[in-house]
């Protein structure tokens, strides 16, 4: 893709009970958020396996946003608390191996926070735009014989 | 065929020259382990430190992963494109006698009944330049398998390190041909020839580790049902694939597709009988238990391969002993079988 007209393509893993509803709300309130995001609804942020994030990046998306209910608001009581521990180490590890922190982000957005969801997505996409297309897993030279 | 020689400080020039028309591979430690790497024009000083590689030269002919074909789905359905290795000639410089023998062993397998075009194309395009061992490792036991550290009929051209110079002798027509193309060589004297022989003999003496192959076929057969023995010797094994991947004769593989239905490659990759998944079928797995897998590995090398191809599929290179994280030792296991 030409660098000049490149648009970030990002994935959002949003929890069904809060962030997904939040995105829904921001949509129905006609709040604009960038269409660069493809949203995948998940039952709970606790469902997010680090594999999802790495596979998405390996398959070429430019950024991954994971969003769930605020601590204390989990539909399953503690899913997001457990998720938070995981996210904390994922965050540190990915940064350590050299994945730009802008590419992988975690957030808490409640069902009622339509504007916040739009804002989070907007800022996230801008952050990804700043670091450019994801070439992390690309081979430099064309493989093959 | 007379002996030629080259000064070691001329090797760099020689390598630069050889690598013009072909891919030249030499021992290198630049990646953090010793392997055959493409000649990079830098240092040809491996003769000073090189004993053997961690990854055997089989990897140049039967790589850990290789693309076999490409499939593409277009308007008219799937199209298949064969991906054979390019025909560029290769020279592998510095192959030890054990590994040269190992290539002969895998040759038989890959040319038996059905030709394996991937392996054989590379082999046909390759010239193997051997390097006799002056300093075998304490894990070596090639002499038990009819291999001499100082000689080899399995290479195309054999070098012997006689100090400041390498002595060279053509073994095959390919080797003769290569030798005739090399510049910077001079004739070797009879004295130097005998020095090489002497070094070879003393290398032979340095090898103390051994296995006893006499009557081994029968012993293997009768040890097969000795479950207690196999359970005992396999207890410390961690079921990783190191021994099989560093083995110059292990050749088991898997065939996989890239996860892309529209445009992807079918690849062949190393696989290992040490992994439980190797033989797993949906309903059952004949080698689910570790001791069965270990038994398969040693029986394959020392019994089945010998029955099918008249040679033991082990050359005593000692890599499995050196690299095993828990020190499973093939000489101990075969010794144990002989003592049963």
């Amino acid at each position: 893709m030409e660098e000049s007209n490149w648009e970030p393509k990002v994935i959002g893993f949003l929890c069904h009970w809060c962030s997904y509803a939040g995105a829904d709300l921001s949509g129905s309130a006609r709040l604009e958020y960038p269409h660069n995001i493809r949203i995948i609804r998940i039952p709970c942020s606790g469902r997010v396996d680090p594999m999802f994030i790495l596979r998405a990046l390996q398959n070429g998306v430019d950024g991954v946003l994971v969003s769930g209910c605020h601590p204390g608001d989990c539909h399953y009581q503690s899913g997001n608390f457990h998720a938070r521990r995981k996210f904390a180490v994922i965050n540190r590890l990915l940064k350590y191996v050299g994945i730009e922190p802008e590419r992988v982000q975690f957030s808490w957005v409640a069902a009622s926070e339509g504007p916040k969801m739009a804002q989070v997505i907007g800022e996230f996409v801008e952050g990804v735009r700043k670091v450019g297309p994801n070439r992390l897993f690309k081979d430099e030279k064309k493989d093959g014989e | 065929m007379g002996y030629k020689k080259i000064k070691k400080d001329q090797l760099k020039t020689l390598f630069n020259e050889l690598s013009k028309d072909c891919s030249l591979f030499v021992p290198s430690g630049s990646k953090g382990y010793v392997g055959f790497d493409p000649w990079d024009g830098n240092s040809a000083d491996f003769t000073e430190w090189y004993r053997n590689t961690t990854i055997p030269p089989k990897a140049l002919f039967f790589p850990p992963v290789e693309a076999m074909l490409r499939f593409r789905k277009g308007e008219a359905g799937y199209e298949i494109e064969e991906l054979l290795p390019n025909g560029r000639p290769q020279i592998v410089f510095g192959v030890r006698p054990c590994d040269a023998r190992a290539l002969k062993i895998t040759d038989t397998l890959f040319s038996d009944t059905y030709r394996d075009p991937y392996y054989l194309t590379r082999r046909e395009n390759a010239t193997i330049v051997g390097l006799a061992c002056n300093e075998p490792c304490d894990t070596c036991f090639c002499t038990s398998l009819d291999i001499s550290p100082g000689e080899s009929q399995d290479v195309d051209l054999l070098c012997s390190d006689i100090g400041d110079e390498l002595l060279m002798e053509a073994v095959s027509d390919k080797g003769e041909d290569l030798l005739s193309k090399m510049s910077g060589l001079s004739e070797a004297s009879g004295e130097e020839e005998s020095k090489a022989k002497q070094l070879g003999d003393s290398a032979k003496e340095k090898i103390t580790r051994q296995i006893d192959t006499s009557g081994l076929l029968d012993k293997m057969r009768s040890s097969f049902e000795n479950r207690e023995y196999w359970e005992d010797v396999s207890r410390k094994c961690m079921s990783c694939g190191i021994c099989t991947y560093v083995c110059p004769t292990c050749h088991c593989f898997d065939i996989c597709d890239e996860n892309n239905k529209k445009d992807g490659k079918r690849v062949r990759n190393w696989d290992s009988c040490k992994f439980p998944l190797f033989t797993r079928m949906p309903m059952e797995n004949p080698r689910h238990e570790k001791w069965r897998r270990i038994r398969q590995r040693y029986h394959h090398k020392f019994e089945y391969f010998q029955m099918n191809f008249e040679t033991i599929a082990c050359t005593g290179c000692g890599r499995c002993i050196r690299e095993c994280p828990v020190n499973v030792d093939v000489t101990e296991i075969i010794g144990g079988i002989q003592a049963l």
Partner: protein, 278 residues
């Protein structure tokens, strides 16, 4: 696709999908490049490597008869990644196919003999290739007896074949299920005791059996009781395979490679090596 690269698959077109049971499907398929078809031949008992591009290869026998070359057939039980993808196939889809590999049922040894086929579940697939082969040259063979069993009426595969053989006066057809249901009026019972009840004479007879390991085990015992010698029993073996040509190293039982030296063995051969590994 010319040349001698044994790993290159032919592209095949699926012509028909038949749902046999809940987890077994049969596929009719044909060469996409028709010029390849005339060059192709196989024998009953041989197998091939079938692939779904992007998923991988899997091993199945060719379950149609070489006497009927309008199309080829294979049958698949859904069990893993590739078989699940195969079960998704629709008419017109394309698959990869390389083969045939392995040995075959020795027809010349069966000539002039009584034949007893004993099949269980999807194990009828390789047998039906041979059965149709035999029936298409009916005069060459003596009595033909077929015993087929499955766990339940719903698990019976190839019902169209069973029906045809049932109607054929030149075939002694027996069908049995381990457990019947309210609609089942046929025989109920495990294959080995039913076999003993039918009691085929071993005189000038060859038994050919294929099915799940446990069925094979007890069927062999029943055949022995009936007086069959190991040379009179043929079976096909199943092992995990990948290359199909004796190189990849997984399907061996002792020094015998099921893909290259089999998959068809006499019980005498099996007795020689099976006591070995399993």
């Amino acid at each position: 696709m010319e040349g001698d690269n044994v790993y290159l698959p032919h592209v095949m077109k699926i012509e028909k999908v038949i749902r046999e049971t809940q987890n077994i499907k049969t596929f009719h398929f044909n060469f996409k490049d028709e010029s390849q078809k005339s060059k192709f031949s196989f024998k009953s008992g041989q197998f091939a490597e079938y692939s779904i591009f992007g998923e991988g290869e899997a091993t199945f026998c060719v379950s149609s008869s070489p006497t009927r070359m309008d199309y080829l057939e294979f049958s698949v039980m859904k069990a893993g990644k590739v078989t699940a993808a195969i079960h998704e196939l629709q008419e017109g889809d394309e698959i990869g196919f390389r083969g045939p590999y392995g040995n075959w049922f020795p027809l010349e040894l069966l000539e002039g003999k009584n034949l007893v086929f004993v099949g269980g579940g999807i194990g009828l697939a390789p047998l039906r290739s041979l059965i149709w082969n035999v029936l298409d040259n009916r005069d060459t063979y003596e009595d033909v007896t077929i015993l087929y069993g499955a766990r339940s009426p719903a698990d019976l595969s190839f019902k169209y074949d069973l029906e045809a053989w049932e109607k054929d006066d030149a075939v002694n057809m027996y069908t049995t299920v381990d457990n019947g249901d309210e609609d089942w009026t046929g025989r109920v019972g495990l294959i080995p005791p039913v076999l003993e009840e039918i009691g085929p004479s071993p005189e000038n007879t060859v038994a050919i059996t294929c099915g799940p390991p446990i069925m094979i085990k007890f069927t062999l015992m029943s055949l022995e009781k009936l007086g069959f010698t190991n040379d009179q029993i043929l079976t096909t073996l199943e092992m995990k395979m990948k290359c199909g040509i004796g190189k990849c190293g997984r399907c061996n039982i002792g020094n015998i490679y099921v893909c290259k030296d089999g998959p068809v063995f006499t019980n005498a051969q099996i007795q020689n090596f099976l006591s070995n590994e399993f």
